[in-house]
Symmetry: C2
Subunit: 460 residues, 2 copies
């Protein structure tokens, strides 16, 4: 049986998931979930806003904005961390790009989807423009994330292994769903919106390391928003655009486990499985940094008190982040040595600790030369064994079973707030950053998103 025939046979037996998802998005009750899910949705939203503000002056944003300004866009929706307003479709694009630029946003670990990236910027731009309540915004966010992560669950890992950047190649569905909800489209028009979006998977993994990587969630946000607007006006698509033999899913994945979409839909919530990065680098070195910061804080360590640091780590750590002597900020992200040294000296590893200045600073360079990493196949990927020998002869030790930020050891609300302020204070100023954090953390209580936008933008 040829691959194409197999694809078509299995797809012809698929349940009508496009319509099922549309029915769900159009009809599920507002705040129709537990307090825990509601809280996680707010953590997801707050983390995303901070991650969009942090890189708001970055080249990835500035160059896209340059292109968008060539369209003379109407000032409909705000760019987070900036003064400009652009049309809603391009606000979704740019805020989406910004939020993934530092790769510091949220992660749905089961699929490696960054769930908020394509959904939140589209929903926020639309909410600002049409005057949606915070409640409706959070509803749209939860439902949109449910759609993209369930489609992701059905296709992961094959879809990702084939080379798709799954955040952008499922995210346009979540964006279309969220925007349909905010526009109060009925189930049939929502199915059209999801259907139009299904023709626009965005993102191939070859782009990693270029600005087009963060373009993927931004592009998906824009595509989904436009799909919802088109559906609102009566544009049509196949109501089986996801699951038909020549629909999206069989085309982009050999694995299409539709039960991942249909089972317990509306009862379990993918947003509750969301995680947030405490450190602005690949997740594989988080346990090592975590251990170093723990020992630093517990023992009041300073660089000059340290004779050497010995990390026992999973083989992947050195494979991916074994760079001994990084000379630029970005290279620092691929160096467990730099990351641990910076963590000990600065007590954190945010985007600033991956600046050129910190990566080349004398104190960090000196300490990183005293960091050793040893492969230990008995150490799992999300663990690390960290020993620090002090100049006065002590050996301090911690075994990190699950790094901070993992599902087993989530960041606390206070830590998430600190991450938000760390990223946004340099852009907004400390006072506004604090106010923005307060509002984002309980956005569902606000009648509109106006106050949030006012606190997250500058120069008005």
């Amino acid at each position: 049986m040829s691959a194409v025939v197999k694809q078509q046979r299995s797809a012809s037996e698929a349940p009508p998931v496009t319509q099922m998802l549309a029915d769900f998005v159009a009809s599920h009750a507002s705040r129709g979930w537990s307090d825990a899910v509601e809280a996680e949705a707010h953590r997801t939203f707050m983390n995303w806003v901070g991650c969009a503000i942090g890189p708001s002056q970055h080249d990835s944003v500035a160059t896209t904005l340059g292109a968008v300004m060539e369209l003379s866009p109407a000032p409909q929706a705000s760019l987070l961390g900036r003064a400009e307003k652009v049309d809603i479709s391009n606000a979704a694009l740019i805020n989406g790009i910004s939020s993934h630029t530092f790769d510091f946003d949220d992660t749905h670990l089961r699929t490696i989807i960054h769930p908020a990236g394509p959904v939140a910027p589209a929903a926020l731009a639309l909410a600002e423009h049409i005057g949606s309540s915070g409640r409706n915004l959070i509803d749209a966010l939860v439902l949109g994330i449910e759609v993209s992560c369930r489609v992701g669950n059905a296709m992961y890992p094959d879809h990702y292994l084939r080379g798709w950047h799954i955040t952008g190649s499922t995210g346009m569905l979540g964006s279309a769903a969220a925007c349909s909800r905010l526009l109060k489209l009925d189930a049939d028009r929502t199915a059209m919106a999801i259907g139009i979006a299904a023709s626009q998977p965005i993102g191939v993994r070859e782009q990693f390391g270029t600005m087009t990587k963060p373009f993927h969630p931004g592009g998906a946000a824009k595509a989904g928003l436009m799909a919802a607007l088109m559906a609102r006006h009566g544009f049509t698509a196949s109501p089986r655009a996801l699951e038909a033999p020549r629909g999206l899913m069989p085309i982009v994945s050999d694995k299409t486990d539709y039960a991942e979409i249909t089972e317990r839909l509306g009862q379990t919530w993918e947003v509750s499985l969301n995680t947030y990065k405490p450190f602005a680098c690949g997740i594989v070195i988080h346990p090592s940094i975590d251990g170093c910061v723990q020992l630093r804080n517990a023992h009041g360590l300073k660089a000059e008190m340290i004779r050497r640091v010995v990390l026992r780590v999973h083989p992947l750590v050195l494979e991916l982040t074994g760079k001994k002597t990084p000379s630029k900020g970005l290279e620092g992200k691929f160096s467990v040595y730099h990351s641990c040294a910076a963590g000990i000296i600065h007590g954190r590893a945010g985007e600033e600790e991956y600046s050129d200045a910190v990566v080349t600073s004398a104190d960090v360079v000196a300490l990183r030369s005293r960091v050793e990493a040893v492969i230990d196949t008995k150490v799992p990927e999300d663990a690390a064994d960290v020993s620090i020998e002090t100049t006065d002869g002590r050996t301090l030790h911690v075994y990190v079973e699950h790094a901070i930020g993992s599902l087993a050891r989530p960041m606390t609300d206070a830590q998430l707030r600190a991450k938000f302020v760390d990223q946004s204070a340099p852009v907004l100023g400390a006072e506004r950053a604090a106010r923005a954090a307060d509002i984002a953390a309980r956005i569902a209580d606000f009648p509109t998103v106006k106050e949030l936008i006012a606190s997250c933008t500058i120069g008005r």
Copy 2:
């Protein structure tokens, strides 16, 4: 060897086609091809303009315009056949949608790509806005079509069989290339534009029969235009976005014959292989209609002179277009009986002959009941054996070896012009339609596209 490993191994040996195409687009001489190629480029352009004007009042256009107007777009570029102007990215979208709405546009038979659909609307919108010459517009069109059709050649048929609507899933590359050329980007920025576009393949075949089918070329046009604008401002992508192991081509096709891209690049021209439909229906029934119209014209036939029509046809004709008694315009496109009856009565089978009115008109209904179709496995797919028995006892016969509009029997310039006027006169009025045809047919001689736009729009 797993499929993924195989994909990565073959891709790692790929030549640097992204950069090669970019170098070609940025540096190939203006009008660096034969007179025949130049003439075919103009035929492609004129045919496309007519196909975009014809459906300009259709729901697919009106609904998209409704969505776009929600963005309060700046009036930068015109919509063909209409009075409105919108921003260049959405003018590319809407004119692209319009041009494929009746499925009456051009066909690159080797790949079933509709080459102009994603390239021409992006290039025209940009040319109007930045004041490009007609010469530069035609250069951009030829080069853009070369890029998408060569990438299509490299992946066809696997890519299409898998379910991709190849027009939209290669078209964004052609659009990015054409717009890069118009913007005079250097080779490196052109590579970035093609790279950004490579993350945005648009279109799955499940959408056939819905408005999302014509969305595919329109969406591709818009994506490519935005990619070029972003590249102009310094946005980055992988310079191996097409051919790297996790680049576009290995991800969306098992067949990646890179020689189709590299060999004789700049020496042979895919636009010279373009064809144009004389009839507004699936190509499989074109030989039958052609035969009927030939006999009609040769013998001055009228419906009442005909006792019966006997078609001997390839099996696919009845499989795809065997509908005996269509009751709506669209169903008429799937009826060889209606198509031949309308062809005999009206002497043509344009979009009007597939209106509800003509499909249900008494004369056509009466004649179609006297049309018989017989499967003959000896008749090739692009041929038809047509006999007409007259009421006065004659049997008229023609064997159509290659239908009009095929590569072997291309439409003449006069026929293409008539097709243009047929489509555009109802929208523009006869005088303007004639003027538009004159200008489109020699657009490279015009210092700007202003006169063309003035003749192709209304209500100004």
